[in-house]
């Protein structure tokens, strides 16, 4: 069942088109990774979804309701954590958490205490004394201690240390196991890789790649590291081979998935001693999309 769905979502600020026909769908119990460089439109999309910005064209629906006109209804079941958390300097972290929980209308004291402990947050300090990471913890505790059905997280871990990053990932996994949905915008690709079922890559306001990680990998290249008895010749000339690097006796390169068979046949002629193959990391996928600006826009299917 679709929890969050945007159809042809477009947002213009004057002449500037920030979002150009964005389609995203997050289903129940699914974690959707939303990645893209700065200024690509991630936060704009999220703000439209929160009913803070009004879409110029297209629709944004959460729980089957319109993100703009039914914002209040939707927000009762939604929790949001921004990347840049600004809090009231003269309130304590604990006060802010309670305020947020109260405004949503739900109360889970045990969960709050548990999370404060887990995130190692001192709720008695004034917000002005918090570092970026600690302000983020306040927002995360407020979000995860509420009983939401959808979590929208906009680069929530940019200020957290690796230990807290771990705690955060546990929270997301717990939410997922409880059947909750998550929209996670992130720069930390290993995090997305670990947590997300579906991934969407946005660039210049357009979704240029979307699908499950497995699907996206299938479309792309495999990393190979081969060591042979005789040196491999003319590997460069084969179709679908990229980024050839000589490493001591071995050679590493990437192969387009559809050419894998031909390339392997060629390589075996030289007497394979060692062969390592790895699926492309999300980083590889990501970099591929951003390095060659002129490349065709691929669509996941």
């Amino acid at each position: 069942m679709s929890i969050l769905k945007t159809t042809n979502l477009t947002k213009r600020f004057g002449k500037f088109t920030a979002l150009d026909g964005v389609n995203i769908e997050v289903n129940e119990g699914e974690v959707y990774g939303f990645i893209g460089p700065n200024g690509a439109g991630k936060s704009t999309t999220i703000r439209v979804l929160l009913g803070i910005l009004k879409a110029t064209e297209g629709t944004a629906e959460i729980f089957g309701k319109d993100a703009w006109s039914d914002a209040v209804e939707i927000h009762k079941r939604l929790a949001y954590v921004p990347g840049d958390v600004n809090l009231w300097p003269n309130l304590t972290g604990g006060e802010v958490i309670d305020l947020f929980v109260k405004l949503r209308g739900g109360n889970n004291k045990n969960r709050r205490e548990e999370l404060i402990k887990k995130f190692d947050l001192d709720p008695t300090k004034k917000c002005r004394t918090y570092s970026k990471g600690n302000r983020q913890k306040v927002a995360l505790v407020a979000a995860f201690s509420s009983d939401a059905d959808l979590y929208i997280l906009d680069e929530p871990t940019s200020g957290l240390d690796p230990l807290m990053e771990q705690v955060f990932q546990e929270c997301v996994i717990e939410a997922k196991q409880a059947g909750k949905s998550v929209l996670l915008s992130s720069h930390i690709l290993s995090e997305v890789e670990r947590l997300c079922d579906q991934v969407g890559i946005i660039r210049q306001g357009k979704i240029i790649e979307t699908g499950s990680l497995a699907e996206m990998r299938h479309l792309t290249r495999t990393n190979l590291l081969v060591e042979t008895k005789q040196p491999i010749i003319s590997i460069h000339e084969l179709k679908g081979v990229h980024d050839v690097v000589q490493k001591d006796k071995a050679i590493s390169f990437q192969v387009d998935t559809e050419e894998l068979d031909t390339v392997m046949k060629h390589v075996t002629q030289f007497g394979v001693v060692k062969l390592e193959s790895a699926p492309p990391t999300l980083e590889d996928l990501f970099m591929r999309h951003y390095e060659d600006n002129d490349s065709d826009v691929r669509r996941g299917s």
């Binding site: 600020f13 929160l50 803070i52 039914d70 914002a71 209040v72 927000h75 958390v85 947020f100 405004l103």
Partner: protein, 533 residues
């Protein structure tokens, strides 16, 4: 529909009150205290109708009308005097309070990204703006009631219940009008600075429009909400309709603010934000350029303010002689000196006040260094090739020049206005000299600030206490007959009181030397101590 877009308005109102649980009472106490103290002082200083009539005569000139508006000068009771001299100025302060509080809870909190988090919760789209409006209306109603009843409670004969309530209501209504104006600018402008700036500009324009109107053309005053303030004539004819007019206008302003808020995106405004400079000018690329740039607007505002203050003090010189003759308290303040006119004796007293006020901006310029440290912004500069001396020196040079400019501007303003209203005008050199003798004392204050920043950074705010002390003992010293040493604890107490006293160079030289010693010790200390950030 309305329920959805205004959901949780009350909860947000409570949050605003919680956030400002100190700020709001301080504003209220400050304004009410000010409002109530003045008639008490008036009752004390002008106890007979004869004295008040003399005062009324003094007030009857275009400069005063431009400053405080028209008043009931024919029947100048304590009540009429209070509403004439104080109501408009207090209303301006109430307007300022509303402007600052509204911006703080609308555009500023939106700009900082907090509204985004609030809006991600089940909170209505218009909840925040209406919560702010609600809180401000309540504050202003409270202000109206407390000051109105407070004035009545004084039990001064000419201050009846209706007049007192009207006085309070006028203040509150002005606050509500400026609440509405600011709420609109908070929608129009993309930044909180812009919202505050435009609103204060409207406040000043409203003041100026009615100043011109009151002096030359009554119709013009109708275009200014501050013109309506004088029209209430509290304690005289007690007109309530301007209060009604202000409330009516406020309702329209509130509706407009709601409408503008409803049709805009979060974070967006309606005024096009002009793109900033792509590159820093050569001027900005040095610590002193940066320091100057950070304080530019504040300095210009102070310069204008002090110049106007000089003008307003200067404008009273015209009727001064006749005014002093009827007033015992002021005559006591000005110890009689042979061979000098009362007007001339008045100059040193004015100069102490003006020089102390002119000391505020250079001290602020110097303490900005500490402020930047507190905000962890100095580390960006110290992490680069900037020495401690260069950093502190930059702020110090600005403070020293700033002080000189401020003192000069007040003296020039005073001279210009006095020259215009007096039959026999002053010599410019005399006025300017009487002001500039205070410069060494100002340098000592700046030096002390440097010393505190360098050696005792935890207690830099002591400088304000010291300045306040100087103000109290030197300005009011004559009134309370303090022993002489009390005044000598302040550097300002050593300054020869030109033109009544002889010029003495020795104290000025000694003060200057002390100032430079303090600056050097402060610099050395600053080089040795830890920087917080």
């Amino acid at each position: 529909m309305w329920a959805a877009i205004s959901k949780n308005t009350l909860a947000l109102s409570k949050l605003i009150i919680r956030l400002d649980r100190i700020r709001i009472p301080l504003w209220l106490i400050g304004i009410v205290f000010f409002t109530i103290m003045v008639p008490i002082a008036f009752d004390d200083m002008y106890s007979s109708q004869k004295e008040r009539d003399v005062m009324a005569e003094t007030m009857e000139n275009p400069a005063m009308t431009a400053m405080v508006g028209p008043g009931n000068l024919e029947n100048y009771t304590i009540g009429a005097m209070t509403s004439h001299q104080m109501l408009l100025l207090t209303a301006v302060i109430v307007g300022l309070m509303s402007i600052l509080l509204v911006t703080r809870h609308t555009r500023a909190t939106e700009e900082d990204g907090r509204i985004e988090m609030i809006r991600s919760l089940p909170v209505g789209r218009l909840a925040n703006v209406n919560a702010t409006l609600l809180v401000l209306v309540v504050i202003n109603i409270l202000l109206a009631l407390i000051s109105g009843l407070g004035l009545y409670a004084l039990g001064i004969e000419s201050m009846d219940l209706e007049g007192s309530l009207l006085y309070g209501a006028t203040l509150g209504a002005t606050g509500i009008v400026f609440t509405g104006i600011t709420a609109i600018f908070a929608q129009l402008s993309e930044s909180s600075r812009g919202a505050t700036g435009f609103s204060i500009a409207i406040l000043l324009i409203a003041y100026l429009v009615r100043a011109i109107g009151d002096v030359s053309n009554e119709t013009l005053s109708w275009f200014s909400p501050l013109g309506w303030v004088s029209q209430t004539e509290a304690y005289s004819t007690n007109n309530w309709w301007p209060v009604g007019l202000m409330i009516g206008v406020s309702i329209i302003l509130f509706i407009l603010a709601n409408y503008l808020n409803a049709i805009r995106d979060l974070g967006a405004g309606f005024f096009p934000s002009k793109p900033g400079k792509k590159h820093a000018s050569i001027f900005l690329k040095s610590p002193i350029g940066l320091a100057l740039r950070l304080q530019r607007t504040g300095m210009i505002a102070w310069a204008i303010g002090l110049f106007i203050l000089g003008i307003s003090y200067g404008s009273v010189f015209g009727d001064l002689e006749s005014f002093f003759e009827g007033n015992d308290v002021l005559e006591q303040l000005l110890a009689e000196k042979e061979g000098y006119s009362l007007t001339e004796q008045f100059i040193p007293m004015l100069m102490i006040v003006l020089s102390l006020l002119a000391t505020v901006p250079p001290l602020m310029a110097m303490l900005k260094l500490k402020g930047e440290e507190g905000k962890n912004r100095l580390e960006h500069l110290f992490a680069r090739a900037v020495s401690r001396n260069k950093m502190m020196g930059s702020y110090l040079i600005i403070a020293i020049i700033n002080g000189f400019m401020m003192l000069s501007l007040t003296a020039i303003g005073l001279f210009a206005a006095a020259n215009a209203v007096m039959d026999e005008s002053f010599n410019f050199g005399m006025i300017y000299g009487a002001a500039m003798v205070y410069y060494p004392a100002m340098l000592v204050m700046i030096g002390l600030a440097v010393f505190l920043i360098g050696v005792l950074p935890k207690v830099t705010s002591f400088i304000w206490a010291y300045l306040t002390y100087s103000f109290l003992v030197l300005y009011l010293g004559g009134l309370f007959d303090f022993p002489e040493w009390v005044g000598k604890l302040s550097p300002f107490g050593y300054i020869p009181q030109l033109p009544v006293e002889e010029m003495q160079w020795l104290p000025l030289v000694i003060l200057t030397v002390i100032a430079f010693v303090l600056m050097i010790v402060g610099m050395v200390g600053y080089n040795k101590r830890d920087i917080d950030g």
